[in-house]
């Protein structure tokens, strides 16, 4: 039993954190809101250079050959800066799906992903809309009981504006020429895996977002003075932030366990992911609620950076399965006859 990350994993997290803190500033996120695509090719090339776009790509295809557990701490860091680029999607959803599909499709696209030369975007019915469909070189789409591959020429996109200006969402209409990648049970399994990995990515990002909102709020309430003191010295304000810290502290291990379960293809993976998604998004939603409160009217403005993180947290809570889906999955497991519950059952 060893529930710790390796030195290498923690060092990688540190270096990615430093890189993102320097490069993905609130100013840069805001600049992306004003651009046509909302995406930054220079930044994507930098991420590729660091090996991040190919982190989960097998070594034979030019990647680093790492797994979901290796990436989960980096996904937290992506959340911390509200990274607009589809890096978490690439590493946790698109690449694993392509690798499961295998064959020519994988051999053709994985090296390009690792090199930062192509983006592959996955759309599943559960998400209604497809984020970043407009920058995809290849789309892998759930279509009825099939999984199909399509290029930009083979689809029509309809943009839907999100409360989070970083999120570029599209309804995707399939035209002629798309090819079927899998069908029936095989397609169903691939889509289910994509849902789990997407939910894992959302949960990990939610942890980072929650931490960012706490940090911003602690800083603000330490500086803002009323009644002759920093407002952060008042217990009413302290307790708002302490309540977030409690929920956040206990959401981390479930996310790490979910990453482990997915990486090791454990039977408990779906349940572990649902658990992680629920508690991490709940922590992020509480962070948003209490952070805007301690910011007072400033928190309600466009100018203060808090909303960059708050809005992404709100959006992530309902993508890759909303609370209804994940609670239903948990209920299905724990209310089943003969379910293994209680002390000693957690690790199977």
């Amino acid at each position: 039993m060893d529930f710790t990350f390796t030195e290498d994993q923690l060092l990688f997290q540190d270096s990615v954190r430093d890189f993102l803190a320097n490069e993905v500033t609130p100013e840069r996120v805001r600049a992306s809101w004003e651009s046509d695509s909302g995406r930054d090719d220079v930044l994507w090339a930098q991420l590729a250079e660091l090996g991040l776009t190919g982190m989960t790509v097998a070594e034979e295809h030019g990647g680093l050959g790492m797994n979901e557990l290796d990436f989960v701490l980096l996904a937290q860091e992506c959340g911390y800066v509200a990274l607009p680029e589809p890096l978490v999607h690439t590493a946790l959803v698109a690449v694993p799906l392509l690798q499961q599909v295998g064959g020519d499709l994988a051999a053709r696209w994985l090296p390009k992903i690792a090199a930062g030369e192509a983006k592959v975007i996955v759309g599943i019915a559960q998400n209604m809309l497809v984020e970043d469909a407009h920058v995809a070189d290849l789309l892998l789409l759930e279509d009825g009981d099939k999984l199909v591959a399509a290029t930009q020429e083979q689809v029509t996109l309809r943009h839907n504006a999100s409360v989070d200006p970083s999120r570029r969402l599209y309804a995707v209409e399939l035209g002629a020429g798309a090819t079927t990648v899998a069908a029936g049970e095989e397609a169903r399994c691939l889509v289910a895996g994509a849902l789990n990995r997407g939910a894992l990515g959302a949960a990990a990002q939610a942890l980072g977002l929650a931490q960012r909102m706490v940090d911003i709020s602690v800083q603000y309430t330490s500086e803002r003075q009323q009644f002759g003191k920093p407002i952060g010295s008042f217990q009413a304000v302290k307790h708002h932030m302490a309540n977030v810290a409690v929920r956040l502290e206990y959401a981390k291990a479930p996310v790490h366990r979910a990453a482990y379960a997915v990486a090791h293809n454990q039977e408990i993976a779906s349940h572990a992911v649902s658990h992680a998604k629920l508690v991490a998004c709940e922590a992020a939603n509480l962070a948003a609620k209490n952070s805007i409160q301690v910011h007072g009217a400033m928190g309600y403005t466009w100018e203060v950076d808090l909303h960059i993180y708050m809005k992404k947290a709100w959006a992530l809570a309902n993508t890759w399965g909303d609370a209804g889906l994940h609670k239903t999955r948990v209920a299905g497991r724990i209310f089943a006859e003969g379910a293994a519950l209680g002390a000693g059952a957690t690790f199977g």
């Binding site: 039993m1 060893d2 529930f3 710790t4 990350f5 390796t6 557990l69 706490v214 602690v218 309430t221 330490s222 003191k229 920093p230 952060g232 010295s233 217990q235 304000v237 302290k238 307790h239 932030m241 302490a242 309540n243 810290a245 409690v246 502290e249 206990y250 959401a251 981390k252 291990a253 479930p254 790490h256 366990r257 482990y260 379960a261 658990h275 629920l278 508690v279 609670k327 948990v330 209920a331 724990i334 209310f335 379910a339 519950l341 209680g342 002390a343 000693g344 059952a345 957690t346 690790f347």
Partner: protein, 387 residues
């Protein structure tokens, strides 16, 4: 990361499981908040110690097994699954014991720990005073050094287990000119000393689980001082740290409650679902108990590898005490009109121990430092907010 038990951990689990299966009393003991129940629990501690299961984390030469924290968690899982008796000497073995090992002299360890291990000497806490609750640094009870004795005067209150315990530990003001947390000394006091009066305080369930202790010129040998004179605060903080931490409230206890809550819900689903919030509360309770377990394992693994426990451990107490309240409150909702019935009431069918648990859950956010104090600690020491 490797989330599987080693063969050694699995064998340890089998060993404790077999011993408990053979030794846990078939009939639950009476509560240790009665005189008879206290005796029964004291005898159970002796039996546990005979099997060397009393304090598995203690070193072998003190009757323990030198277990690490993962083995401790495994032990607790089996212990709660077996519904073995609650630990009457928890103040001693979980709180004072580890503090003694860190701060005690060899003479103190040799004299005190073996009798603590067998349950021959059961320990009560003596922290709070009428005017020193959350503000523990306001302690006014005094200890005056005269020759090789301390002369103790004053009053302690909310002393858990004090009615039938043999000893108490606590802080006393040894420097009369001192203020706040300076000038306090940690002293161990035999409760049969002349000049001590113990007045039981009935708890919510009517039973005397705690008491007031009055000290009237009580003489205590200087050998019963733990740590240096005037250093009581730092010794006490170590005890409070253990209390909040892994030992006193391991996840197994709450996971077993969560499991019983799921079972209660499933058995009463039709009536329970008339209130749609109940299903959600059951799901949340279950997940929170699992989160508590996962987080505790992660912390334990980090500590096993030489990591240090930080200010984030202050989140622990709030998490489990609120979880415990939520679980029992949800069970009360499911039981509906039966929930208020005492277990021996003739029509109290299928009510289990939920009412007792509900009453006890009310104390969780209060004892061991109120949750409001914990929130201040989290905000100031973990988050770095201004004082």
């Amino acid at each position: 990361m490797d989330l599987a038990y080693t063969d050694q951990q699995k064998a340890f689990r089998e060993e404790i499981r077999a011993w408990l299966a053979a030794n846990v009393p078939a009939e639950p003991l009476q509560t240790f908040d009665t005189e008879e129940g206290f005796k029964q629990h004291r005898a159970w501690e002796a039996k546990l110690n005979e099997g060397r299961w009393g304090m598995v984390t203690w070193p072998e030469e003190l009757g323990g097994r030198g277990c690490d924290l993962i083995e401790w968690l495994v032990f607790e899982e089996e212990y709660y699954k077996a519904r073995a008796p609650l630990r009457v000497n928890q103040n001693g073995i979980f709180l004072l014991g580890p503090t003694l090992m860190e701060y005690g002299t060899d003479e103190q360890k040799a004299r005190i720990l073996p009798k603590m291990a067998t349950g021959e000497e059961v320990w009560a806490q003596g922290w709070s005073e009428p005017n020193a609750g959350s503000d523990m640094a306001a302690i006014r009870s005094t200890a005056r050094l005269e020759g090789d004795k301390y002369i103790i005067n004053g009053q302690k209150t909310w002393s858990t287990r004090a009615v039938w315990a043999d000893w108490c530990f606590g802080m006393f003001r040894t420097d009369p000119d001192s203020e706040r947390h300076r000038g306090l000394t940690f002293i161990l006091v035999p409760l049969d000393s002349p000049g001590i009066t113990v007045r039981p305080i009935p708890q919510l369930d009517g039973l005397p689980g705690f008491a007031e202790i009055f000290f009237d010129n009580v003489e205590v040998a200087v050998q019963n001082r733990l740590g240096d004179e005037g250093a009581g605060w730092s010794v006490a903080m170590a005890t409070a740290g253990f209390e909040r931490g892994l030992m006193l409230r391991s996840p197994a206890r709450f996971q077993e409650t969560a499991k019983r809550l799921v079972q209660l819900y499933v058995e009463n689903r039709e009536s329970a679902d008339r209130d749609p919030s109940v299903r959600d509360a059951v799901i949340r309770s279950y997940l929170d108990a699992e989160s508590y377990c996962l987080t505790t394992y992660q912390t334990a693994c980090r500590l096993n590898k030489g990591g240090k426990i930080g200010a984030e451990s202050s989140t622990n107490k709030i998490f489990w005490s609120e979880l415990d309240q939520n679980m029992h409150g949800t069970a009360m909702s499911i039981l509906g009109a039966r929930a208020e019935l005492l277990p021996h009431a003739p029509d109290a069918v299928g009510v289990g121990t939920w009412l007792d648990g509900w009453l006890f859950a009310q104390s969780g956010p209060i004892y061991a430092g109120t949750n409001e104090v914990q929130r201040n600690i989290i905000a100031e020491r973990m988050l770095g907010m201004p004082r």
